[in-house]
Amino acid sequence: MEKSPERVEQFKTEIAGMNLRDPSTTRDRQLLRLGIGLLVVGIAVGIYAYTLSHGTNDPLQQRDAIVVGLIAVSVSIAGAALFVRYSIAQFLRFWIARITYEQQAQTDRVVDAIKQKSQ
């Protein structure tokens, strides 16, 4: 263990050097809502594109509808990504780290057991 005054000084230096994000408490929530909004808009536009395509025999208009549909899919994917990033991702991050570590530890145990057996 280091001497405490040195540790405190080191701590102060490291805290002073930290890069801090914008402390806005509403930003994450706004982005979460934006994600949900984009997801819903993407689905709605996709349905609109389907009706647009289905309601005409004009190939040009149908091709336009395909483009609109593709845009809708892109918007939905972007919305889903935002939703995942700002909702469950934070919750899951810790568990992913844990699972990764457990798998690593399990692998090490297996390797050790194989080594012991081969000796």
């Binding site: 405490s4 005054p5 405190v8 102060k12 002073a16 930290m18 402390p23 570590y101 530890a105």
Partner: protein, 239 residues
């Protein structure tokens, strides 16, 4: 900026901190100042906001208003992992260990600090000999007291400058609690700043340099442990 009003010997400070779970505000303007190298006990009944206060300090919750000042710097937007990496470590309520991993593996979760596994183990087992014999035992099968020792050992393996302890005594027998707080006293002698949240007031006041009583999301009173006896009964019993 709050930096200017923070005393020079303060390592941890809360200034008018408010925090809420969704729309329900649980901290209504908490003011707190912890000096470097001291043990500060935060006491109070269930639901007073003690654990939420620790969460705000550790960066697990963002305050809706006010300032969290660590080592003279306002850190409201800081991520908990960044603060932990620099030495602000939280030992959470309910141990927070990995029950499926062995004692040794739990300790090695702290290797991100760059310390060698052997050094981490040696330090932990020297401090908590009861864990040494159980290094290969799955942590979930340890007794409650040993699990809490493991949680403490893992927190210390991160080489903290500030240690936040949440309800060390939860679910433990009084003798085990006393043993744990003997360890806390030893840790404090090494100069690590400790902020301990506790309902078990009597034991924690024995090791604290300063204490505060929280009630209904506010700090009701702050002072030396010997000054707080009357206020304690009022806070717990509603005097």
């Amino acid at each position: 900026m709050t930096d200017a009003i923070a005393p020079s010997d303060e390592i941890l400070g809360l200034y008018g901190v408010r925090a809420a779970y969704e729309r329900i505000e649980v901290l209504h303007g908490v003011d707190l100042s912890v000096k470097a190298g001291t043990v500060f006990a935060l006491l109070g009944p269930n639901g007073a906001g003690k654990t939420t206060t620790l969460k705000v300090i550790a960066g697990l919750m963002r305050p809706t208003a006010g300032d969290v000042v660590v080592a003279g710097r306002r850190v409201n937007g800081a991520r908990s992992e960044d603060l932990a990496r620099r030495g602000l470590c939280l030992v959470p309520e309910g141990h927070g260990i990995f029950p499926n991993l062995t004692v040794r593996e739990n300790l090695l979760m702290a290797t991100h600090t760059g310390r060698k596994p052997a050094a981490i183990e040696a330090a932990a087992f020297a401090r908590f000999p009861a864990l040494a014999d159980r290094r290969s035992q799955v942590a979930g099968t340890l007794s409650g007291g040993q699990q809490q020792m493991l949680a403490l050992a893992r927190g210390l393996a991160c080489e903290p400058a500030v240690l936040l302890l949440d309800e060390l005594s939860m679910g433990l027998a009084p003798l085990v609690v006393e043993e744990l707080y003997e360890n806390v006293a030893r840790i404090a002698k090494e100069g690590i700043t400790i902020l301990v949240v506790e309902q078990f007031a009597k034991v924690v006041l024995g090791v604290a340099d300063e204490a505060a009583i929280m009630a209904q999301g506010r700090i009701a009173v702050t002072g030396r442990p010997d000054e707080l006896a009357d206020e304690l009964s009022a806070a717990y019993l509603g005097g």
